[in-house]
Amino acid sequence: MSPVTKRKKDKFSIPSKYLLLILTCVCVALMAVTFFTDYSATPLNKLVGYVVVPFQDGVSRIGTWISVRVDELGELRIILQENQKLKEQIDELTVQNTQLQQDKYELNNLRELYKLDEQYSGYEKVGARIIARDSGNWFHAFTINKGTDDGLAVDMNVIAGGGLVGRIVDIGSNWAKVNAIINDNSNVSGMVLASADNLMVRGSLQLMAEGVIGFGQLNDSQNTVEVGDKVVTSNISDKYLPSILIGYISEISQDTNNITKSGKITPAVDFEHLEEVLVILKTKQQIGD
């Protein structure tokens, strides 16, 4: 009965040379299309979203569950001790809190007087879980489990623990790819909070190993910027919302041109142990309108 199987094989007998040529052409065409146009493969994004993301979600859920259980067992004793201490702290903080609330009330009144509305503190945010990370070792982008169905869009900023994580660069209906600011191909326009000097925060694979991000093009002629200064996103960035904390300057040095300075920033976010992030449901463009 071999003819039956033979005929099957004959059907697909394109010589491998031509198959290679055809697939190469397909790749080149795809690259050309995505590079020269804004077409971002939405149907493909949707399709893989339904095929791959549920699996990733499931596997990472199981993984998280196991690691959480393991951690729980180990930390139970420490937590009990901590609990005692924290209870004492609560009492202390309650007293402080009442005082602060009074202060806040006063502050709000003063703000109203100054007509400084809190433009940027009241963004609507949505939480998302990281379900997968970049499969290669060159870049450290990651996938979160929410997409266009949850109201996300490309260029929305992603934060965690009060600091900037990155922004959405690619999206499907139930997933979104986040490009982290520590990534080698990421540049963020930042600003030193104390002196309002602008700088460029540049991700680098080399510095990633040390847990820091590089920065450059800091124009600080007055020598006011110091180690420990807060760096936030600047208001001239066209992708990032202003005044989101990036990190703290940990090293600073004069460039060889004697005009600008560069150095390193310790990020506010712990990128190694990132599991959950918040996505701000507004893009810079929308706010500008």
């Binding site: 009965m1 491998s16 699996f55 070792n137």
Partner: protein, 171 residues
């Protein structure tokens, strides 16, 4: 047909585990490259065409999720799959040296290509650093994982062969 479905599932599983499980098991931010193991294995087990298709699918999956340009990884994996297909004629199932050498070489070529096209062209010249901190660790880790994964792929394919042979007899 059965074989194609299984191949598709292997690629899918490879991708899912590479992006989740093996990211959690990464040493110093370096995780093994499962997709290259799959591409290379299918390349020399079933010849050029199969290697090409496997590579193309693996690469495309990476492109869709993590590529900047659609088709870049697909192209790299495509050629790796095709190149490994050349070794189909000297492949013996019991020999594990050839697969190890081929996977090692392929992963190195893949990483180096990535470095040249994605980093060197953006004037990141410190090749020694990238060699020491990304390329070599990835190759070593991948080889280590290969020792466990390759026998599984081999076993699966042997089983498939037997099932197919059985089917033919019945027909």
């Amino acid at each position: 047909m059965k074989r194609n479905i299984i191949l598709f599932f292997i690629i899918l599983c490879g991708f899912v585990f590479q992006t989740t499980l093996f990211q959690a098991l990464s040493f110093g931010g370096i995780s093994p490259n499962i997709l290259i193991i799959i591409t290379v294995s299918y390349g020399f087990m079933y010849g050029k065409k199969c290697g090409m298709v496997t590579g193309f699918l693996c690469g495309l999956l990476m492109d869709i999720f993590y590529g900047d340009v659609l088709g870049f990884y697909a192209l790299v994996y495509l050629y790796i799959g095709a190149a490994n297909g050349v070794f189909h004629s000297i492949f013996y199932q019991d020999d594990i040296k050839l697969p190890l050498v081929l996977i090692l070489a392929s992963d190195f070529v893949y990483s180096f290509t990535c470095y040249v096209l994605l980093y060197l062209l953006r004037s990141r010249f410190d090749i020694i650093f990238y060699l020491k901190h990304v390329i070599l660790p990835e190759v070593v880790y991948t080889i280590f994982v290969t020792v466990f994964i390759y026998p599984c792929i081999l076993l699966l394919n042997r089983t498939m062969d037997e099932i197919e042979r059985g089917d033919n007899k019945v027909v």
